[in-house]
């Protein structure tokens, strides 16, 4: 079994390598083929695209950029920008009007702000001109219906199925000793996987007790930039609403907010010491080493835990998985995961090569090319089309890939949108600071009251009526709040 798995891994890595080097030609008449044919007519030129620095940008640098150039003669220059600076750079460039950026990667929650600033080009005319509407419909509904339009117009193509998934050690949770401990403590059979946060805490406590914290029952990243997504998810799963829709008074300090903060503090006790300082990598390392039994994160954790593609040089920093074949995938407690961040492909309104930029993003986002891109082991783009979830090719990537894809698909149905208002980052910044104060030991209720007061001040500055309208538009989207 072990040898078999290793062989499968190598085959998968080899397949990914072949994919990296060549790509596959587009089917005639497909959106990808239309884009290629139209781009050829534009003649040789260079377009720029803003992409998140690091692993994400290896997609256009190693795969899609060279392939596009080979097929169309149009060279792609990748401008790598750290996530934290992407919004600023895009906006600054737009204000300066240099036309330095042609195509953009934009976090969907930013789209409303960028559209208001006039930085994004409406894409509907191009979509119709180049026959992309049908393929757009095949994007999973949660992304298509929530992350594509602003004010009814298309401004971006959802291109990354970012969603939080719960990963758990099937061998640990299936251990009879752990299950007996759980039953002795709670009087109930142990739920595998846990479906509520209370169940998760009890399961983690049982693991700690039964295994002597080898592994720890649970662990999560705790850095505030990630945790504000976690807060948004859990707060809404706890029944919370961000604002009173009638008055726009912040209601983040409600019972749901307090329950979220108190739950986190309880879980900190169940995880490894020092967990409150963990970021994405620390949590990943602990889980892949087998030090922790349950965690929640973005989809790459699942692929790397299975060992998929981690032989790639670009992933040499990812610790060797000690838990391949032992990981189960499920929705986080509450059942409605955060569609944390994600990316949409957009065209810059100040681009001087809009046509070429559009054709490139249509090609990238198309059914055929995107399927190849989401299988690149290193590039961090996660499945976002129905066809990705159903792909036989993807399902064969590692033995548990079908379960993995099923979990992502469930997230694509039940996922919750990131909050998106006018100047969203100000609200998020206040929340991030609040979370940071929570880790410093301040009183949860006081923190939440302070954050709510800050949110009210921000709303006042922006204008209550304007923000009320923006919130109403966001809240009306199908995945703004769970249907509890």
């Amino acid at each position: 079994m072990r040898r078999m798995r290793r062989r499968e891994m190598l085959a998968a890595a080899a397949a990914a390598g072949v994919l990296t080097a060549t790509g596959r030609p587009a089917r005639a008449g497909s959106a990808a083929a239309i884009a290629v044919e139209a781009a050829k007519k534009l003649g040789p030129q260079e377009i720029t695209i803003v992409w998140e620095a690091g692993l994400q940008s290896l997609d256009p640098l190693n795969f899609s950029g060279p392939l596009w150039e080979k097929q169309t003669g149009i060279k792609v220059k990748v401008i790598e920008v750290p996530t934290a600076e992407m919004f600023t750079k895009i906006l600054q460039e737009h204000r300066a009007g240099t036309g330095a950026y042609d195509a953009l990667n934009v976090i969907p929650a930013w789209m409303a702000d960028l559209v208001r600033a006039g930085a994004l080009e409406p894409l509907d005319p191009y979509v119709d001109k180049y026959g992309y509407r049908d393929e757009l419909k095949e994007i999973a509904p949660v992304y298509r219906d929530n992350q594509m339009t602003v004010g009814g117009k298309i401004y971006g193509f959802p291109d990354d199925g970012d969603v939080f998934v719960m990963y758990y050690r099937k061998d640990v949770l299936g251990d009879p000793k752990v299950q007996a401990t759980y039953k002795a403590k709670t009087g109930k059979d142990m739920p595998v996987p846990p479906k509520t946060w209370e169940e998760l805490a009890d399961v983690a406590a049982a693991i700690n007790e039964a295994t002597g914290k080898k592994p720890y029952g649970c662990a999560f990243f705790r850095e505030p930039p990630y945790m504000q997504f976690m807060f948004q998810e859990r707060f809404r799963n706890n029944g919370g609403k961000f604002f009173d829709a009638a008055t726009m008074k912040a209601t983040i300090n409600s019972e749901a907010g307090l329950k979220t903060f108190q739950g986190w503090l309880k879980e900190n006790e169940l995880g490894p010491p020092g967990m409150v300082s963990w970021g994405f990598v620390e949590n990943l390392a602990a889980f892949l080493k087998g030090d922790t039994a349950i965690t929640i994160s973005w989809p790459p954790y699942g692929r790397w835990a299975a060992g998929y593609g981690t032989e790639e040089k670009a992933l040499s920093w990812v610790p060797k998985s000690q838990i391949a074949g032992k990981v189960g995938y499920a929705m986080p407690p509450g059942g409605h995961p955060q569609l944390a961040a994600g990316f949409s492909l957009c065209v810059s309104a100040s681009s001087k090569k809009k046509e070429a930029a559009y054709l490139f993003i249509q090609w990238l986002n198309s059914k055929e090319i995107s399927l190849q891109r989401v299988q690149l082991p290193y590039a961090l783009r996660d499945p976002f089309r129905e066809s990705h979830f159903a792909s036989e090719e993807y399902r064969k990537r590692w033995p548990e890939a079908p379960e993995y894809l099923a979990a992502l698909q469930a997230g694509a149905v039940n996922g919750l949108l990131d909050l998106s208002l006018i100047q969203t980052d100000k609200y998020e910044e206040a929340l991030r600071q609040g979370i940071s104060r929570l880790w410093a030991g301040e009183d949860p209720k006081k923190i939440l009251d302070d954050v709510a007061a800050q949110w009210d001040r921000i709303t006042q500055q922006i204008g209550v009526e304007r923000q009320k309208a923006a919130y109403a538009e966001w809240a009306a989207k199908p995945n703004a709040y769970p249907k509890l």
């Binding site: 600033a117 300082s277 100000k426 880790w439 410093a440």
Partner: protein, 305 residues
């Protein structure tokens, strides 16, 4: 000025010097004046102008709004807290760097084996970029993989998990340690150079007169190096007032806004929240505060004269 009178009694107007000759001195200073106006006065006036507007990168409305940004600043507790944090760093780091730098300078005043090597090693932190220093200290302070906690664990004989940059008790010492580590060598270099320039004959005379080591230090050495000390304090004081990199690298102003300095807050407002006009108002208030402090200090120590 009387006109010249010729031999025949005819008055001659003196030959007027060419325009270039008459204005030569102004022509010489014009480029420097232009550059100063361009890089100094223009940004100041422009910032002043912007501070009365309502410019944010996210809004189209850029209308003038009088003193609204300044009024907001008065009631912005985060601004005043950030100023307070900055002053705390200044009040602790500046004397610590001065004292440590001075002690090091005294130590290396006498010739000793390997002095050049030690001095070179001591000065190394200054050549490290502050943002890199911050990031490096962040790794050193990491509770899981950082060597500081590991060393403490060896000493304690049990695992030590101090959350240096999350725990309010430890976060200031952690930042101050990084800051003092990096900039004490700068003080050391300046003071070392100054100490080497102290007139030996005065020290010898004082010694012959029976002055103790302390008396020589107090009455001869310190007065001799006073101008350098003051300049060093001014340079480091101004540096500490605009403290950004190390804190950003270590804590980003956290936990919450507990270690947020005035520079970090201005950066957040200007470049993360895009409130250009409000950030301009903040910058101007900081400039005015700093200018007042510097002028007062210079006036007190008579350096300006």
């Amino acid at each position: 000025m009387a006109a010249a009178v010729g031999a025949a009694g005819v008055r001659h107007e003196p030959a007027r010097a060419p325009w270039v000759d008459r204005h030569f001195r102004w022509l010489l200073v014009a480029p420097a004046t232009f550059v100063i106006l361009l890089v100094g006065l223009f940004p100041f006036v422009y910032t002043l102008l912007v501070s009365f507007q309502n410019i944010t990168m996210l809004e189209e409305d850029t209308s003038f709004q009088g003193f609204a940004n300044y009024a907001r600043l008065l009631s912005d507790t985060r601004f005043w807290e950030a100023l307070g944090h900055t002053l705390i760093f200044l009040a602790i780091a500046l004397p610590a760097e001065l004292v440590l730098g001075f002690l090091l300078a005294l130590l290396f005043l006498e010739k000793m084996p390997g002095r050049q090597i030690f001095v070179a090693l001591i000065v190394l932190p200054v050549v490290v970029s502050p943002i890199v220093a911050g990031a490096t200290w962040r790794l050193l302070f990491d509770n899981r993989f950082g060597p500081i906690n590991q060393i403490l664990s060896w000493i304690a004989g049990e695992p030590v998990t101090i959350l240096w940059i999350n725990n309010p008790t430890f976060v200031y010492p952690a930042i101050l340690l990084a800051e003092i580590w990096q900039w004490t060598p700068f003080m050391f270099l300046l003071l070392w150079a100054a100490l080497n320039e102290v007139d030996r004959s005065q020290l010898e005379a004082a010694e012959i007169d029976g002055a103790s080591w302390w008396q020589r230090l107090w009455w001869v050495v310190l007065p001799a190096i006073r101008p350098v000390v003051i300049i060093a304090l001014l340079i480091r004081g101004l540096d500490l007032f605009r403290l950004f990199d190390v804190v950003w690298g270590l804590t980003r102003g956290g936990p919450g806004t507990m270690t947020e300095t005035i520079s970090i807050y201005t950066y957040v407002v200007g470049f993360q929240q895009f409130e250009t006009s409000y950030a301009a108002a903040m910058a101007l208030v900081i400039i005015l505060l700093l200018s007042a402090v510097v002028m007062t200090a210079l006036d007190r120590v008579a350096i300006a004269r």
